[in-house]
Symmetry: C2
Subunit: 409 residues, 2 copies
Amino acid sequence: MPVNLPPLDPAQLHPVPGVTLGIGSAGVKTPGRKDVLVMVLTEGTRAAGVFTQNRFCAAPVRLCREFLGGDKAIRALVVNTGNANAGTGQDGENRARTICAALAEKMGLATEQVLPFSTGVILEPLPHEKIIAALPGAIADLKADNWAAAASAIMTTDTAPKAASKQVVIGGKTVTITGISKGAGMIHPNMATMLGYMATDAAISQSLLQKMVKYAADRSFNSITVDGDTSTNDSFILIATGQAGNTEIAAADSADFITLRDAVTEIAQVLAKAIIRDGEGATKFMTINVEGGKTREECKAVGYAIGRSPLIKTAFFASDPNLGRILCAIGYSGVENLDVNTLEVWLDDVLVARDGGRVASYREEDGQRVMKKEEITITVKLNRGQENATVWTCDFSYDYVKINADYRS
Amino acid sequence: MPVNLPPLDPAQLHPVPGVTLGIGSAGVKTPGRKDVLVMVLTEGTRAAGVFTQNRFCAAPVRLCREFLGGDKAIRALVVNTGNANAGTGQDGENRARTICAALAEKMGLATEQVLPFSTGVILEPLPHEKIIAALPGAIADLKADNWAAAASAIMTTDTAPKAASKQVVIGGKTVTITGISKGAGMIHPNMATMLGYMATDAAISQSLLQKMVKYAADRSFNSITVDGDTSTNDSFILIATGQAGNTEIAAADSADFITLRDAVTEIAQVLAKAIIRDGEGATKFMTINVEGGKTREECKAVGYAIGRSPLIKTAFFASDPNLGRILCAIGYSGVENLDVNTLEVWLDDVLVARDGGRVASYREEDGQRVMKKEEITITVKLNRGQENATVWTCDFSYDYVKINADYRS
């Protein structure tokens, strides 16, 4: 069961003018499963993406980079679950390209206008014929209010679909932002999460869209960890259809850019946190705030050291305030010349450590009270600079082992 | 149950002339438990050590660094379990110094001639009076053939004592090397393991002893991981009493140095591997050989990426040849300009991947056959240089979670 992830209400997801979504069933891994998503984007749409930094990046990720870097506008996306098409060499790339070509042919597009995505098991050949056979069904299903069904279609070990939506006013026009994400394990994104798609009808220049997707990813999908494993397939795509009627956003210091950027980042954070709430075996949701660092990078390093430590994650699972493990992780996080005597560690509103050790005011029952909660905030005040970062993670339970010992079978 | 760790046979542990060991009972955590070890070293002994790089290093580690860097010869060691004296600030350092002073006073030494060590829970005040009260009992117990009892005395979550011994001939003299180690969790040493002590009666210069301890640690304790957590207390001490009668080893290129260095490294590897065999919840022992790298560091980075991945470790626990996870870890290991199309991945004698994907000859039943074994070798051939490294690790089971959710209670 996810941690405080409310059931998805399809009525809360605003359609994005210029985007339609259709679901198909290819039976990639499980016969009858709805495992193919097609997104079609209106003419004039701009797209930008960030992708895994894993050197073993999947074939579809390599094609996405190629197509986004080309001169043809992206007009469709095709996603399958059940097979990641990763660790599949040149053959995997050929198969992904064949799927793009098949969808392009049906839609009157060029192959390079279709971005492919896959998620699932690594090192298995992708059954591309099954996916191509499912395209007509997905195309027949295309509609604007299909975001909730799309969120379900891209799930793998996820136990719940993940989507979020928001409207803001930009240049006197109502602008919509809606997004979906998936992921529960192999989550320690280095550019983006397993899969995240967000669309807005705002008009915005290509260079600012690219800037925005990086900004939002850094503060959302690139700030979460379940198990420290950076996936081969992480992809986060931001789409702007330009249908809202606002004057095109073209200046990075404009109020319009900041309004849209912050709304996009907010939705990205909701989607990224949903992945953690549904983290494999998760029973608790932890927010790690690291404040007062010299750089944002060192704050993130401390946050990730805490967030990926199996010792800390099992202690949270057990509600055991074995808080020395947090100090230990801060100590090995790699921050240069870190002075352990000036930093502070807080558990919610309880000050735990200062001056290199436990504070005299700390009482075990206070730590215990916080540890028993489902949502816990760890705050580390480095007290050496002005930068901050937040990392979100979950605990580590028997079920994480169970899920990952069973995943393929 | 440890993985293929034979029961300790005290008769196999050669006493080291110049070293006596005594065990005491302080009841630091558990009343009546033998939890204090004293080692006394004869006049003329040299000692060298490597310690955790964790910035939150424990108070005894800070004192060890200070005392080893001073001008007084080290003549005794005192170790307690049940409390790590880490995250205890200046007060922790004062308490450790008080213990050293108490032992020094009883042995006619200076405080700075006694190295202190602690292992156990972090962030709790060390009950130093209990340890001081246990010193007379430990001193009364001092004897040369007490290595097996010493190995038991330093255990925490270990399920078996760890010790090894060997004799070599150097300059016509029989030289003895005997060592003990402890550790089962919070194991991802960055200089050394939780605790390792090795003594030889060889005569060797101080500078070469220091060189040797680093060499051996790099190829043993610094090549293992259980959970990726670098402890606050890692310490590895190499003692040379000079009682063997060999001509003092003074040249790094001498045959004598190499003979002793290789024997010390061999024993250090046995001790380090014993920690993995007894890794918390371990059911399998994995050797990760990374060959053909440009540098030893990049080989180690690949080895550690594989060795600390929870996804890989749970797949090994399940005997599931979900080998794409290995490619994934290689891909995010951070090796610069890694060409995934030229590397190879082997599972024992089975070639799994080449040319960026699974080889056609690979059959699931071959992978399954290897995965079912208790001892498995993963070989990654990077095919881009001449350097190699080996990392040892264990799998990740339900019991790891259980042990670490229960450790303090």
